[in-house]
């Protein structure tokens, strides 16, 4: 058992940083020396709220109701989740496509003064009456957190009133973390506390937990399952498109692994501590090198090192001639990458498969894990700029404008307005991962870069919303030391 319970707030880990402007070489060295300090920004643009991640992680669970204990805006973007869920059902061949059941308690001025307990009770009552779900998730918000609603105590009391619905409160108040991946951790902490409860279950031979976030397409799920089945294991794919039954099976597994670096990584560690399930935490399986690394990682945990080498050899035989063709199209392209923790580093490794060169990397956090990736990247790329930032398009365009890369990988709209050809490695509806995904992704990237016409025309007609003087400034001007 861990001596200190992990709070679910990613910043609580020593050595983890959110705000830094540096280069690949510098950051590697300074991190080793322990010289990196926490900082903040005296000017910043919006981030992503961790509550979105807590919701997105679970929104496709069968027979569930999702209750946002918040004012009416906190689920303002829920239509994106509704769309993902509906498309996911269509891909999985479901005929009567359903909406997720999403209820907002609608905290108002009275709740701010008197507390929101009545509203939460009412919401759970309605949820049970209407949908009789197996699971009801209650999501905390900034407002519910600040006014001090004790959602754990209220949930406990509601649980005795409604014994047939498992009530799971989740502490994902937005203001608690600037790292939206904290929201994943908050969800898993509650799954362990309220569903698994450290109960030992009978082990199932050959069962592997495969944790997947919402952004993984069904095509990617199938590819991951195909690869794992070659190792002779059975996959428990969770929590995306799964169910209470599958969640309850988590402790029965022989091993765990995750598709995303910042999804369930903390949880897999908890599963080791609480249920002695070994796990593999490596990289996102995007690109040959990363797919190999991911594959070897889980094979090692399962004691199948020899088998995996044979499979990898065969897969390489099949895939390498095709990748070579892509390399011919992409070789030498100078790239700037911006993405979430898992995707940004995966993309940086991917471009090496295609002989592309990294000139800049923007990623939300720096920590032990990032250090491992940076050491690897420093070995293959010349020195590149590193911006530890969650989006912050103003810094990004300042850097991209100075570096003038041949291609940009990530959220495309700002680089595109500078006329830079853009592409991405995040597609929740189409393949990106594993050996098969790589070809689809590579062809997509090559096609997008082959015709930058749209971006060029766009850049010729629109202007980014910053003053000309900003582009002459140091991109990291507003990063101030001594933040929190």
């Amino acid at each position: 058992m861990a001596s200190v319970q992990y709070s679910g707030v990613r910043e609580s880990k020593p050595g983890r940083l959110n705000d830094l402007g540096t280069t690949g070489k510098q950051v590697e060295e300074n991190y080793k020396k322990g010289c990196l300090k926490r900082a903040d920004r005296s000017f910043a643009q919006g981030l992503q709220c961790q509550q979105i991640n807590s919701m997105a992680a679970l929104m496709s669970l069968e027979d569930s109701v999702f209750i946002s204990h918040s004012p009416q805006g906190c689920v303002g973007c829920s239509i994106m989740a509704v769309d993902m869920y509906r498309v996911g059902q269509a891909h999985r061949g479901i005929k009567n496509i359903k909406n997720p059941r999403l209820i907002v308690t609608n905290l108002d001025q009275k709740s701010v003064v008197f507390g929101g307990e009545t509203k939460l009770r009412e919401a759970v009552k309605r949820a049970v009456e209407r949908y009789n779900p197996k699971l009801a998730f209650i999501y905390a918000s900034c407002a519910s957190g600040i006014i001090g609603d004790d959602i754990d105590a209220i949930s406990a009391s509601l649980q005795s009133e409604y014994p047939d619905t498992l009530i799971v409160p989740i502490h994902c108040e937005g203001f608690k973390s600037k790292i939206c991946a904290s929201g994943f951790d908050a969800a898993f902490i509650s799954i362990n506390k309220y569903i698994l409860k450290k109960q030992k279950v009978e082990k199932e031979k050959g069962l592997v937990n495969l944790f997947a976030p919402t952004t993984v397409s069904y095509a990617d799920q199938k590819e991951m399952e195909r690869m794992l089945s070659l190792l002779g294991v059975k996959v428990n794919y969770i929590p995306f498109y799964s169910s209470l039954e599958k969640i309850k099976k988590i402790p029965a597994a022989e091993a765990s692994t995750s598709i995303c670096k910042v999804f369930a990584d903390e949880f897999m560690h908890t599963l080791w501590e609480d249920y002695q399930i070994p796990y593999s935490h490596t990289v996102m399986p995007i690109g040959i090198r990363n797919t190999d690394k991911w594959y070897r990682g889980i094979a090692k945990v399962l004691g199948k090192e020899e088998e995996v080498e044979k499979i990898i050899e065969k897969e390489h035989e099949r895939i390498e001639p095709l990748v070579k063709k892509l390399r011919e199209r992409l070789q030498g392209t100078r790239v700037f990458i911006c993405g979430g923790t898992g995707r940004s580093f995966a993309a940086a490794a991917l471009i090496d498969d295609f002989g592309m060169e990294l000139v800049g990397l923007e990623t939300p956090t720096y920590d032990d894990d990032a250090q491992v990736d940076i050491e690897y990247l420093n070995g293959i790329h010349k020195d590149f700029v590193v911006d530890i930032a969650n989006m912050q398009p103003f810094e990004q365009v300042n850097l991209v404008n100075k570096l003038r890369p041949d291609a940009f990988i990530g959220v495309p709209e700002w680089a595109a307005k500078l006329g830079i050809p853009t592409t991405h490695v995040l597609d929740g509806k189409r393949p990106t991962m594993g050996y098969d995904g790589l070809l689809f992704l590579g062809n997509k990237i090559a096609a997008q870069l082959q015709n930058p016409g749209f971006n060029k025309k766009l850049a010729a007609h629109v202007k980014l919303p910053y003053k000309d003087s900003w582009y002459k400034e140091d991109a990291f001007k507003y990063i101030t030391e001594g933040g929190n």
Partner: protein
């Protein structure tokens, strides 16, 4: 007490950032938790000059909750003025600063002498929805930016309609309203969309009157402008869709503005002639009555539920089943809106329900006998229930996932035709 929302139809007051976004070169500056802008943005049509990821934000953290976020707000505004190229900076507050008691107004007042105007609207999510937030932003412009003027420009009319972005067709609709008003020989002035912006905000005090085309949204702004700026207003409560309502609209505006009656009638005749030229060509589609059923339901904001109901009944000869208004219309406006649903042609009356609970709406739709496949015009949530009933579904109100709209519109004669095209495109592409 605000009711719980199952399948919600609007966002919180802070989503008024979209009202600001609709004003060219006006920048929302958010004093809120991290991620509020992203949560309140749309999934398409959000990458304009200013977009939600561009908006400066204080991203309040745990420490600010305890010690207040005033310092952070000050540096955010100060640096936004240096980095971002805008003409108007509008500070909007979210839940946290209003609960912990940050004096945002005081911080904003420190920028009274800055090169570009900085104003402030309280838009905490727990205080109301984005309809209220929209009104708060317009109020902030009236109270903190505009000054009363005695210089009136003859024929200049400010036009106000429903909430940008919440209304999928906001841009196209307001352009159509401008066009119709121009045809009467008047000069329209609007503040939203391409090349309107601050220049047109400055013209507001010089208008002869304000024209509000909405069942209720913005009425409080009109009253404020009457009081503070001395601008009278005409409240036209039905969004005019199709010939019947648009002709009525032109006559009433013409009368209020003192436009020569013959001129108004000439404009109407020209439009109606073309409108019925089109309708005649496709009359078989309506008359043979095999493509869609007679009964329909609208689930939308007050403006579309009322406007579309009137259009489908009065122009197309359909029959209203129960209609739903999902915008949480304030109680004091409800009776008057309900009355409008009783003023349909041939003594037809439509039952209307002000309901924000999507579950109840779906139960009612399921339990109603439409005498065949229903036609449902609503938010994306209605797709599921309509599909289960094998009916025809058109996504006209928020949330939207089924439609991409650049500057299309349902207002006016032409807008009515567009709506018919959309409805029948859905119907003919299915097998029922």
């Amino acid at each position: 007490m605000a009711k719980l929302l199952d399948k919600q139809r609007y966002k919180c007051a802070l989503a008024a950032m979209q009202t600001v976004q609709a004003i060219e070169r006006a920048l929302p500056v958010l004093h809120s938790g991290p991620g509020c802008a992203q949560k309140l943005s749309e999934s398409t049509g959000s990458s304009g000059y200013f977009s939600p990821n561009i908006f400066p934000c204080t991203s309040i953290n745990e420490k600010d909750v305890v010690f207040g976020g005033v310092k952070k707000l000050n540096s955010t505004i100060e640096n936004a003025l240096k980095v971002v190229d805008a003409d108007l900076y509008v500070v909007l507050t979210g839940c946290i600063p209003e609960i912990v008691g940050d004096d945002t107004g005081e911080v904003v007042s420190r920028f009274a002498d800055s090169e570009k105007p900085v104003i402030y609207a309280p838009t905490a999510g727990f205080k109301g929805n984005n309809f209220k937030g929209h009104e708060q932003v317009v109020d902030a412009i009236i109270d903190q930016y505009l000054k009363k003027s005695d210089q009136k420009e003859k024929g200049l009319i400010n036009i106000w309609a429903d909430v940008p972005y919440q209304d999928l067709f906001w841009l196209g609709n307001i352009r159509q309203l401008e066009k119709l008003i121009s045809e009467l020989g008047l000069t329209p002035n609007t503040i939203f969309g391409y090349k309107r912006g601050i220049k047109n905000i400055d013209k507001i005090p010089h208008a002869e009157f304000n024209l509000l085309v909405s069942p209720w949204v913005g009425l409080s702004n009109m009253k404020k402008m009457e009081r503070k700026l001395g601008i009278p207003y005409l409240h036209y409560n039905t969004l005019p869709i199709g010939a019947t309502e648009t002709s009525k609209f032109l006559r009433e505006v013409g009368k209020f503005a003192g436009v020569d009656e013959a001129k108004v009638e000439a404009v109407i005749k020209e439009h109606e002639d073309y409108y019925y030229y089109l309708i005649e060509r496709y009359a078989d589609l309506f008359l043979e009555n095999r493509v869609i059923n007679k009964q329909f339901t609208v689930v939308a904001d007050a403006q579309y539920t009322l406007g579309i109901t009137k259009f489908l009944v009065n122009d197309l000869g359909l029959v209203p089943a129960k209609q739903f208004i999902v915008d949480d219309t304030p109680k004091n406006y409800r009776d008057q809106i309900t009355e409008e649903f009783k003023k349909l042609n041939f003594g037809i009356e439509a039952e209307v329900s002000f309901e924000t609970d999507g579950y109840k709406i779906h139960e009612e739709i399921k339990n109603h006998d439409y005498h065949g496949y229903p036609l449902v015009l609503g938010g994306y949530y209605e797709k599921e229930v309509t599909e289960n009933l094998k009916g025809n579904f058109l996504n006209v109100s928020w949330p939207v996932q089924d439609k991409v709209v650049f500057d299309s519109f349902y207002v006016g004669y032409e807008g009515g035709i567009r709506l018919i095209e959309d409805i029948y495109t859905v119907a003919v592409s299915r097998f029922n």
